[in-house]
């Protein structure tokens, strides 16, 4: 059996090294992408706090409050007659000015820490001193400039702690001073037995949340699940495209060996042995592909982690991309996916091989590579799949996950694959005359040979159609999203100039401006109005949300106060005069909240009832916003420092001089003064960066498909060598043979592009109106980015055409005399 396998399967594979390599490469790329995304999103999202915990230590519980906790609560807990240990902590971010490195800034009670033997950093840092991670590259004794919010501070490095991720630790008093939050801490870490939880809760004011330590990290993970699952699904596309190619490769292998199989069956080989033999062939591709794919995926993860990390920061939560760890779980997943996909793809042709009757194979039919294709039956099934897809698209999400949406997309791909033979058959027939006119006899022959080898070519074209369709549909979705966002930015960004601290902000990190800045800007002669916006990251029903406040009066007068739901006038009045808020569309979609509902929000130490009076459109992050009037929120969260300012100029005032004037007035503060145009550009840049990774995934899938086309054309050339040689006898010049193969490649590219655009168009509807809507809660307008799509399709078509070059060379290297006399 082994010897037979070597002779029948391995030897032919070795005889066609290029084709074997191309097939292996397609599996390898598929596996690599799956692994890369798995690893990169793990690294990007998996390290919210881990680096901090290693220095600062862990605890059983943590108490937090929106706007911070009063130090007195710390004192109150410490005097409770129960056996607990409480440590205060401040967590924020800062920038090391010399290296522009952004890093977590942690304030701890270092004296207490030093006494605590279990802590990893038994060092005391005095006022004006800090402890740095070795990753920042500084030594003890260095003086560093630390930018916190809008101010730079000189601090001396007291000690360094070995760590691959950067952070800075200061004493809690220093942190309060740097952040300008006197008397406040961000959280209290509490070591207490579980039985003491009720007592703790009783001792804390109702607005303070007591949660098991690390629960927040869990929440973040939960929030990222949707984002991750979409990315993961995209990452499987290349593997699916690879599956078509494995199917094709094994089919070719079976078709070529029909005779041999018949003979072997006749002399006593069992069906299951035949089946095993071809599955083993697929396994060879699978295993070799995996062996190559795993290290490749590890490498690709390096490239992907930055992009994914940026997206996570922009849309969800600040996290420091951790180092990439080739985890067993992730590797196992990729290996399993690779094996399952290859074996599943090989199953049908292997079964077919096993079903070959000894007599049938030996009395070999005429059209030998066109066996077992039932176009009309397949077309019917395709129609059925399309119908099911339509029904699935109408179904609601399951637990905020658009599972039926994915199903609809998968069914559509299946439907397209099943309809491809009929499509190719009809198209080649229809195009035949045209091709003959345009390209001469080579065009005619190319269309005929594609049709004659329909089974092979349609699998190939289906693979390429899938890849192209994914590119087109994701392109349309991202394009629609982009267009929507641009329009939204245009209507939303009404102010002339924006101000914010010159430190990075993320979806959950809102550095504040110093007090007085707003007033100094407002006092400038050309400034008409200044809106102060403040944001807090809070938790609502177990998920992170952004709570913000702005001046409803300013927005009403100068900004955009449009609502999707609710009446603007009454909403405005309600916001001014009562505990009311407007919320963003993603918030509504996430929490099922409507106008009129009352939200119980922990604000400061108390829980407040806030009524929802309107829903507005927002695309800036996926967490969702709750927006209150500034004056109302200040009652409960009295910290007046704004996160950013929107400056409205007097009519006729020019922007550039105003920007200069503001910068001059605020020369002592580290703030960014951004004209409207710059902010817009920045927003779009962030948008584009966010989706760069999806494009990269699509391109890999297309690349896999093109590699497959090259491999399959090569097989086609080898199997038609007799025909190609005969043409030479009949007077075909070498260039005509090359042209013929290139025509075939071009025709494959053309049909795939055509089919891909059709399927992609339909898929984009599912993406825009079902999957995106259900998983992110954004309504986006349909928009086709024609220029981008056309250039992408041109590139794909050209690549497919070029994929014919090597097979054409092989066709030309055939010796017609030898081939004709082989018989």
């Amino acid at each position: 059996m082994i010897r037979l396998f070597v002779r029948l399967i391995l030897r032919p594979l070795r005889a066609e090294p290029v084709r074997t390599l191309l097939t292996v490469l397609s599996v390898a790329l598929g596996v690599a992408v799956v692994l890369a995304i798995e690893l990169a999103s793990d690294a990007a999202a998996g390290s919210f706090r881990s680096s901090i915990e290693t220095v600062a230590g862990e605890a059983d519980y943590e108490a937090t409050a929106v706007g911070g906790l009063d130090e007195q609560i710390y004192a109150r807990l410490a005097t409770l007659p129960i056996a607990i240990k409480v440590r205060p902590r401040i967590e924020d971010h800062a920038v090391l000015v010399d290296t522009k490195q952004s890093l977590p800034l942690i304030g701890l009670d270092l004296v207490a820490h030093a006494l605590d033997r279990t802590s990893a950093s038994p060092t005391v840092a005095a006022k004006g001193e800090l402890i740095l991670a070795t990753a920042s590259g500084h030594k003890a004794g260095d003086t560093v400039t630390l930018r916190v919010n809008d101010h730079d501070h000189q601090l001396v490095v007291r000690a360094t702690v070995p760590s691959e991720t950067s952070f800075a630790v200061v004493d809690i008093g220093t942190a309060q001073r740097l952040l300008n939050r006197p008397g406040k801490v961000d959280r209290l870490l509490i070591d207490a037995a579980e039985s003491l939880e009720p007592a703790l809760k009783k001792a804390l004011p109702p607005g303070i949340t007591l949660a098991p330590f690390g629960a927040r990290t869990e929440e973040n993970r939960k929030m990222l699940a949707g984002f991750r699952s979409n990315l993961v699904i995209l990452s499987y596309i290349a593997l699916v495209v690879g599956a078509f190619l494995i199917y094709n490769t094994i089919s070719v292998s079976v078709v070529r060996r029909r005779n041999e199989i018949g003979i072997l069956r006749a002399i006593g080989m069992t069906r299951s042995a035949v089946l095993t033999m071809f599955l083993a062939e697929a396994a060879i591709f699978g295993v070799t592909g995996i062996l190559l794919g795993v290290p490749l995926g590890r490498l690709m993860a390096e490239g992907a982690v930055g992009a994914i990390g940026a997206t996570v920061q922009n849309l969800y939560v600040s996290s420091q991309p951790g180092s990439i760890a080739l985890s067993v779980a992730a590797s196992l997943k990729a290996v399993l996916a690779g094996l399952v996909v290859t074996l599943a793809a090989a199953w049908a042709p292997a079964r077919e091989a096993a079903a070959i009757a000894p007599v049938e194979a030996m009395a070999r039919g005429r059209k030998d590579y066109d066996t077992g294709i039932r176009q009309y039956r397949d077309l019917m099934i395709a129609a059925g799949c399309a119908l099911l897809a339509y029904l699935a698209a109408l179904m609601p999400p399951i637990g905020r996950r658009p599972l039926f949406g994915y199903l609809a997309a998968a069914l559509l791909v299946l439907s397209a694959a099943l309809a491809t033979p009929a499509f190719v058959h009809a198209a080649t027939r229809l195009l035949r005359t045209l091709l003959r006119k345009l390209l001469g006899v080579e065009g005619l022959l190319a269309s005929q040979s594609l049709d004659a080898a329909l089974r092979r070519t349609s699998v190939l074209i289906a693979a390429l159609i899938t890849a192209v369709a994914m590119l087109v549909s994701v392109g349309i979705m991202v394009g629609s999203f982009r267009e929507t966002v641009i329009q939204w930015i245009d209507s939303q960004l009404q102010a002339d100039i924006f101000l914010r601290p010159a430190v990075p902000a993320t979806a959950d990190r809102f550095p504040t401006l110093s007090l007085g800045i707003a007033e100094r800007v407002a006092a400038l002669p050309m400034v008409a109005m200044v809106d102060q916006f403040r944001a807090y990251s809070i938790h609502f029903r177990g998920l992170p949300v952004t709570l913000g406040s702005g001046d409803a009066n300013v927005v009403r007068q100068r900004g955009a106060f449009k609502l999707l739901e609710g009446d603007p006038d009454s909403a405005y009045q309600a916001m001014l005069n009562s505990d009311s808020a407007i919320v963003s569309e993603p918030f509504v979609n996430k929490h099922g909240v409507h106008v009129g509902d009352v939200l119980q929000l922990p604000l400061g130490e108390q829980i407040r009832a806030i009524r929802v009076v309107g829903v507005y459109t927002d695309y800036s992050n996926e967490r969702g916003y709750i927006i209150m009037h500034r004056a109302r929120l200040l009652r409960y969260l009295p910290d007046p420092a704004p996160s950013n300012l929107a400056v409205y100029l007097k009519p006729g005032a020019a922007i550039v001089p105003a920007q200069r004037a503001i910068e001059a007035a605020l020369a002592d503060a580290r703030v960014l003064v951004l004209p409207n145009q710059t902010l817009r550009r920045e927003a779009i840049l962030i948008f584009d960066r966010t989706f760069a990774i999806t494009y990269a995934l699509e391109l890999v899938a297309v690349f896999v498909a093109v590699v497959g086309v090259a491999g399959a054309l090569l097989a086609l050339v080898i199997d038609r060598r007799r025909e190609l040689s005969l043409l030479r006898f009949l007077g075909a010049a070498r260039y005509q043979i090359r042209k013929l193969i290139l025509c075939e490649a071009g025709l494959i590219g053309l049909l795939a592009t055509l089919g891909g655009v059709i399927l992609g168009g339909v898929l984009s509807l599912v993406l825009v109106y079902v999957i995106n809507k259900q998983s992110f809660g954004w309504s986006i307008q349909f928009h086709v980015p024609i220029a981008i799509l056309i250039s992408a399709l041109t590139i794909i078509f050209t690549a497919t055409l070029l994929a014919g070059l090597y097979p054409a060379r092989v066709a030309l290297s055939l010796n017609p005399i030898e081939v004709i006399h082989e018989e």
Binding site: R366, K367, G440, V441, L444, Q448, S449, D451, A452, R722, E723, L726, L727, R728, F729, L730, G731, A732, A733, R734, Q736, P816, I817, I820, H821, E823
Partner: protein, 223 residues
Amino acid sequence: MSVLQFVDVRKQYPSDSVAVRAVDGVSLKVEVGELIALVGRSGCGKSTLLNLAGAMDFPTSGTVLIDGQSTTGLDDTMLTRLRREKVGFIFQSFQLLPNLTAAENVELPLLLSGGQKARENALDRLARVELDGLGHRYPHQLSGGQMQRVAIARALVHRPKLLLADEPIGNLDSATGSTILELLRRITTEEGATIVMATHSAESTAIADRVVEMRDGRIISPQ
């Protein structure tokens, strides 16, 4: 003038140890309208000689003149042109393209050389080999004899001066074989075409104008 002339032609194939001399010093003249039977044991070099005659291959030394033009020193384009204009091939195993109909097979040489009225000529050719009405059939819908007629029609469609046939009746039963031979004989007389036919059959030698016998790459009769 001779349609085909071999002047001391040698063809060697590099082999593991000694080079195989498939054609070893052949000189031959074939005149217009002749039907020549090329005979000899298997491996004596008949096919090699035909390939040289059809400008499919170059001699190692010596000169092959097709209609007065030497094949030596021609590039692929010129060889292809020579083949298109002057030579038609017939094979033992017919070598029809299975995905093309009979008529499409026949018009193929014209299409490849960019000729006009391909379909018309093809149908006319098919009629002349007594296959009128079968042009739309695919090869697998034809009998062996019919397939070889299609092949002959294809070999003649561009009116070549030289028809090269490598065991044209080798795959046919004797009755069918005879009709094919008759057809070839008729073609030489009616169309003035010249045929060089490698063969093993006695019947073929019987209808030939001249029998050329080969052994070990050399012509042994008539000298």
